[in-house]
Subunit: 334 residues, 2 copies
Amino acid sequence: MTNPVLVEATRGNFAECLYRGAFAIVDANGRVVSNQGDIERPIFPRSAIKVFQSIPLVETGAADQFGLSDADLSLACASHSGESGHAVRAEAMLASAGLDDSHLECGCHWPLDFPVAIDLAKTGKNPTPLHNNCSGKHAGFLCTAVHEKDVLKGYVGSDHPVQVRARQVIEDLTATQLGADVCGTDGCSIPTYAAPLRAFAYGFAKLVTGKDVDADRARAGQRLIAACMAHPWEMSGTKRACLRLMEAAPGRVFAKTGADGVYCGVIPELGLGFALKIDDGATRAAEALAAAVIARALRESDPAIAETYDRLSTTVLKNWEKVETGIVRPLLSQ
Amino acid sequence: MTNPVLVEATRGNFAECLYRGAFAIVDANGRVVSNQGDIERPIFPRSAIKVFQSIPLVETGAADQFGLSDADLSLACASHSGESGHAVRAEAMLASAGLDDSHLECGCHWPLDFPVAIDLAKTGKNPTPLHNNCSGKHAGFLCTAVHEKDVLKGYVGSDHPVQVRARQVIEDLTATQLGADVCGTDGCSIPTYAAPLRAFAYGFAKLVTGKDVDADRARAGQRLIAACMAHPWEMSGTKRACLRLMEAAPGRVFAKTGADGVYCGVIPELGLGFALKIDDGATRAAEALAAAVIARALRESDPAIAETYDRLSTTVLKNWEKVETGIVRPLLSQ
């Protein structure tokens, strides 16, 4: 099927950019509460399921052994902006396990957030692997590997115990089998597995309710989600969409971006998970749709907060001279 | 109609991002030689028609009065990367008319090319309006305004003589009427007018052949196109797609990007113009499609050079650790 246009960007009287995609809001029974588009097509969740990937860090006891704080756990679930506070925290997590950034295999890139990159360049410094948006997750992987006495080198490989544990958690939560046939390599070199969009929304609903999930696993996942909601800056960065989406209803909404147009999230009080994908991978459209999907999930139980998310779903576009040129807005069916 | 998927980005065994769009290859009789997708839907051409917008600079005699070189004319048609060579040249163009960067109304932004922005930040300097990717075009606008004795202030307004002349050229070449109803504001604050995709391809074919165009206008346009092909770096920048597309067949292909997924171009030896738009505005997809469209246009007359453009149309994607993760490739029908 051809996915519907779910977001548009206008200029003058025209829709200049059209964004097709799909979303699913799912409960812990696997019931699809609301959806548009093809939610059975396999997608790569990318960084939107870092919570799933970081569950072994808590489950194994590694987080407690190394005294990781809630802010650390949030960083372990982060696609952070590479601000100095993020890099320093990732370094401290590694140090707690007796490691440093030479152990990171995530690669090195300038901070993804442009103003942060410019600020770093102005200091005359170059980025280290600690600035990689995934450094917190990788620090968590390495803490787990130390705790489990795994060989550290090659921890990003799909056969390494760290990645096997992560895959098993994802399979459990999404009720899928994830073999080499659905495996891709992510930006930070770890495996990413394709599964139906619906399955990721279902996994988050299971995790946050604990339904059909091992109790320790559910506790671990809920601890991570709570840590992210309590410390959203550590999970994202200054002025980032994930931060805005979580600060708008503190402790009531978890929302996490993934590369190439993905978002996943949870509304804990409703026991609902959601997942969405913009076909072409556009971040600005995924952010608009995430706000609209959260608004939809909360519309009935809390119309006022739903309106807040409606407002977040629309962005006025301005050019370099601050002249308004158009808007980005969701186009969900009623 | 729903446009077809013309480009995909893969990861593992899956198409992770799908890019819909349309393209038209048109001759100077207005005959559509090849197309896919809806080529009658109005699109904003954005920077892809800077050649049209800069024709008055040559037509009025301003370029000759101020002794502008071919490299200057290429910069007047550029979305440049903001490298120091671009900024210096834009400044010199302004100086030739007795002006400086305080007259520019294009706004100020960090160089669009990320490595260039980082290099500028490392020097401790901030960008000036000369680094704006449109500064060459605006320098050309100002040269024309000085030559024509227009009031300079407000030259970006749709009613200012500079913009009226540009609009009249576009209307002439595209055989359209461009009123306020189809007017949007571009990133550099000048008006941009929506018209059918087909019309822009037709306009380039008319210009390069001179068919149904005033002889002076055709000469002016051909001079600009030749200047861009002779000095493609000035029209784009280091490692940019427009540079690659023009360097692959020196003097035989003109190709110019526009924001939000547009490309326009010309194959002078065939008398053909082309225009394309990716629905969602993705640059990487527009670049892949531009190469594929040029390959298609040249396939019959020069299969070897068509193969070169086929190669340019596919890009291997690598992550931060240089691991191959997928490819971007066009999916044109035969």
